[in-house]
């Protein structure tokens, strides 16, 4: 695995919202899903997931419920709320806008100025 980098502020929240928007997941499942859809390129520090999950639930973006996992154990499943969906859309929009602005700056060549 590559070296540790700091995720930008709010990025982890957005990734979690995206992961649970694809279907209800328990905490460990959120971690696996993010790794999987990033093509194994992104590994989240495991424990740091929980403060973020609880914060998102606290803000009402996600909601949780105890259920049964694949291996028949009790697990807490998180699911996106309507407010969370709106929040995710607006965050994703902001992110994409910012990314395209910065990409545009980085692409600029001297003769274009």
């Amino acid at each position: 695995m590559g070296k540790q980098i700091d995720l930008l502020q709010g990025t982890l929240d957005m990734l979690i919202l995206k992961a649970v928007s694809l279907g209800p997941l328990h905490g460990y499942g959120v971690l696996l899903r993010i790794q999987q859809i990033s093509g194994e390129q992104l590994q989240i520090q495991q424990g740091s997931l929980y403060p973020a999950l609880y914060r998102l639930e606290h803000q009402g973006w996600i909601t949780s419920e105890w259920g049964e996992s694949d291996n028949n154990r009790k697990a807490k499943f998180y699911r996106l709320t309507a407010a969370g969906k709106r929040q995710f859309q607006s965050e994703a929009e902001k992110w994409n806008h910012m990314a395209s602005v910065i990409a545009g700056i980085l692409r600029t060549r001297p003769e274009e100025i």
Partner: protein, 198 residues
């Protein structure tokens, strides 16, 4: 933002604390066990797998603390801890505590009695018989009114017009002359201090 959701979740944490702590513990345990099981499946020996799962999760207690902080309950934990600490320290030195309590009690008591006395002497007593019969006259007028206030001090009234409580001297004289309702009308002026020596 989503204030209601926050309030709900915060109060849930304050009320059902023990229950939710157990939940958090179970959730973390599930995570570590699942990861260890995945490691075993990929060929890591069981003992090594559970060790690695624990290490990679990171400090369990510090993550739990971060969870509490993100819910806004850590502030109350800290406050409660501080209060307990204060109580313990005070109990340990009863002499100091007694002096502190007694001096606070004396100071508060003295202040309270002096204020009660001053309040009675300076504010509560009007110094006239039947103070409950006193009335302050107010004029209600509009833009066409010929009566106007002195110093131009007037206050708008909801629904148009204005009112004032300061009159010019001719108005006062006229009120006195034509008074058939009130026992007596007298005028006073603020901000004038006089001293009368016996």
């Amino acid at each position: 933002m989503n204030l209601l959701a926050r309030l709900r979740s915060w109060s849930k944490w304050m009320v059902r604390r023990q229950h939710l702590e157990t939940d958090l513990e179970a959730e973390v345990r599930f995570h570590i066990d699942s990861y260890a099981a995945d490691l075993v499946r990929s060929g890591v020996p069981a003992a090594e797998a559970s060790r690695r799962a624990r290490i990679e999760f990171g400090g369990i207690e510090s993550h739990k603390d971060a969870v509490r902080a993100s819910m806004g309950v850590r502030f109350w934990d800290d406050l409660w801890g501080d209060l307990q600490y204060a109580a313990r320290v005070l109990r340990k030195s009863p002499g100091f505590t007694a002096i502190a309590v007694v001096s606070l009690a004396l100071a508060i008591g003295a202040n309270t009695s002096i204020f009660s006395l001053a309040n009675q002497l300076l504010y509560a007593r009007l110094g006239v018989p039947h103070p409950e019969q006193l009335r302050l006259l107010t004029v209600l007028a509009d833009e066409h009114s010929t009566v106007h206030s002195s110093w131009g001090i007037r206050y708008p009234v909801p629904g148009g017009g204005y009112r004032f409580v300061s009159f010019t001297y001719p108005i006062y004289k006229q009120l006195r002359r034509e008074n058939h309702v009130l026992g007596e009308i007298f005028a006073f002026k603020e901000n004038i201090q006089a001293k009368c020596n016996d």
